[in-house]
């Protein structure tokens, strides 16, 4: 893809205009007629099947295959088409270099969207801005205001336990989480 196309695409993405986005199945999975695990199976998709993602409902993504079949699969079954280019986790050497190179102005990163976000350099040059903090504090709201917002939107608090860390995760029973 040309750089120009990338820029245009990124702009569209940022504006939320692109409806369908390409993705690959991360493993073999079944395409369901509805967004639930007991729905009818539309098709069995092998790993790395290319699909267009049309939307999402909870844990489920609605997709269309190249052959025109539509249905639902778990969002976690999908991976980006550029998975190979996906970043590895933050590495210590990079962190070190960045810590040690404070004040350096060169920036060798490849620009793909043309948008430069808040960077390490911005942080390293930051001076405290207490006046801006004061301004921010004026926008803080109290409990009642927040509760009023929830009520207007019919948001009802749910009683839910924290999810345990995976290593320490015991076999979960269904009553671990209590509905509110």
């Amino acid at each position: 893809m040309s750089r120009k196309t990338m820029l245009v695409l990124a702009g569209l993405l940022a504006a939320g205009i692109v409806q369908a986005e390409p993705a690959l199945t991360g493993r073999a999975t079944e395409l369901m007629a509805q967004a639930q695990s007991d729905a009818a199976v539309v098709a069995s998709l092998p790993e790395n099947t290319r699909v267009e993602v049309l939307g999402r409902k909870g844990a489920w993504s609605e997709v269309r295959t190249a052959s025109g079949q539509s249905g639902w699969l778990r969002m976690a079954m999908l991976k980006p088409t550029n998975a190979a280019a996906a970043p590895s986790s933050s590495n210590a050497i990079g962190t070190l270099q960045n810590l040690l190179s404070s004040g350096r102005t060169s920036n060798t990163a490849t620009v793909t969207t043309g948008v430069r976000g808040l960077s390490e350099k911005d942080l390293q040059n930051a001076q405290a801005n207490p006046a801006e903090l004061e301004k921010m504090q004026q926008f803080a709201v109290d409990r009642r205001t927040a509760a009023g917002f929830a009520q207007r939107n019919r948001l009802v608090p749910q009683s839910l336990e924290e999810l345990p860390a995976p290593t320490a995760a015991p076999a979960q029973s269904d009553n671990h989480m209590v509905g509110g």
């Binding site: 940022a14 939320g16 999402r56 909870g58 844990a59 778990r74 969002m75 976690a76 999908l78 980006p80 550029n82 996906a86 590895s88 986790s89 933050s90 210590a92 962190t95 070190l96 960045n98 810590l99 920036n107 990163a109 490849t110 620009v111 948008v115 430069r116 976000g117 808040l118 960077s119 390490e120 911005d122 942080l123 390293q124 930051a126 001076q127 405290a128 801005n129 903090l133 921010m136 926008f139 803080a140 409990r143 205001t145 927040a146 509760a147 929830a150 939107n153 948001l155 009802v156 608090p157 749910q158 009683s159 839910l160 336990e161 924290e162 999810l163 345990p164 995976p166 671990h176 989480m177």
Partner: protein, 294 residues
């Protein structure tokens, strides 16, 4: 944070603290209560034993200290990027954020939320309940539930005191407490030292385990507030399709575990166990901005 990086971080903190304290001591003709003693100690030690001493000098920060440290860090982040000059947006993010914070065991911290005027994609939390998202992040959210998931992840960092503990672990709080006190009395060197600690902390990020913990909490807090629990996983899916070389995402990728690992952990834990919950996906941003215009 990787062990090697942590040591560098530790030295950076020790150096900035030692610098501030000794300079302050050298410049002032009198001893500041609480700071003078530390200055004498710091001034006579070489760096190696200083770090040992700082690590040993551990005491837990109390809540007022946690909040003051968070305010110092928040002022530093706001020094990097100011707020978006859009009062309805700032009122909205505070209302949504406060509702989520009310679903936690620390509902009465001085929770304060802000949208930074930055086109990049990132979010930050400072101790005591000061939370930031960038304008670029807000613009890229596909739903309010996604934004709720991000805010809830940051709220998780505050609840578990991740940033506070990172500072304590690396510098020990006894000395930080002294520097905080001196900064509170307007000592410019002490203030400068805190700014330095904040810069390093937010440029290098937290332990990966802290990020995974904040993800688990983010899902739960958003769901407790009535939002779709899959908002945060959906944001991580978006991130997975981004390149770390893209300058709008580079700082986030450098300071967080790979999105694929974060998605996998959440998927393993969530399975279909949260599917029974009500899943409000929210209202569009435009509607919210109109609603909060008054």
């Amino acid at each position: 944070m990787h062990k090697l990086a942590r040591n560098v971080f530790k030295i950076a903190i020790a150096m900035s603290l030692a610098g501030a304290v000794t300079t302050a001591f050298a410049q002032l003709p009198f001893s500041i209560p609480g700071l003078g003693k530390a200055a004498e100690k710091v001034g006579n030690l070489n760096l190696g034993s200083l770090i040992g001493n700082l690590t040993a000098a551990t005491r837990e920060a109390d809540e007022p200290e946690e909040i003051r440290l968070g305010q110092e860090f928040a002022a530093t982040l706001l020094g990097a990027k100011p707020l978006v000059a859009n009062p309805p947006l700032q009122r909205y993010i505070n209302t949504l954020g406060r509702w989520l914070a009310l679903q936690t065991e620390r509902p009465d911290l001085p929770w304060t939320f802000g949208v930074l005027d930055d086109a990049g994609f990132n979010a930050f939390a400072t101790p005591g309940g000061y939370i930031f998202v960038t304008r670029g992040l807000v613009e890229r959210m596909r739903s309010e539930a996604e934004l709720a998931g991000v805010l809830a992840h940051e709220i998780g960092h505050v609840l578990k005191k991740h940033h506070l503990r990172a500072v304590q672990k690396n510098a020990g709080f006894a000395l930080i407490g002294d520097v905080l006190n001196a900064a509170g009395r307007g000592n410019p060197e002490a203030r400068g030292a805190l700014v330095n600690v904040g810069r390093k902390l937010y440029a290098s990020g937290l332990d990966q385990g802290d990020e995974f913990e904040a993800d688990r909490l983010g899902v739960v807090i958003a769901a407790r507030g009535g939002f779709d629990p899959y908002g945060l996983p959906a944001v991580l899916q978006t991130l997975q399709a981004q390149s770390a070389n893209d300058d709008s995402f580079s700082l986030l990728f450098k300071t967080h575990p790979a999105p694929a690992a974060r998605i996998e952990m959440l998927d393993t834990l969530m399975k279909d166990r949260l599917d029974w919950l009500p899943a409000f996906t929210g209202k569009p941003l435009n509607a919210r901005l109109a609603e909060f215009r008054r």
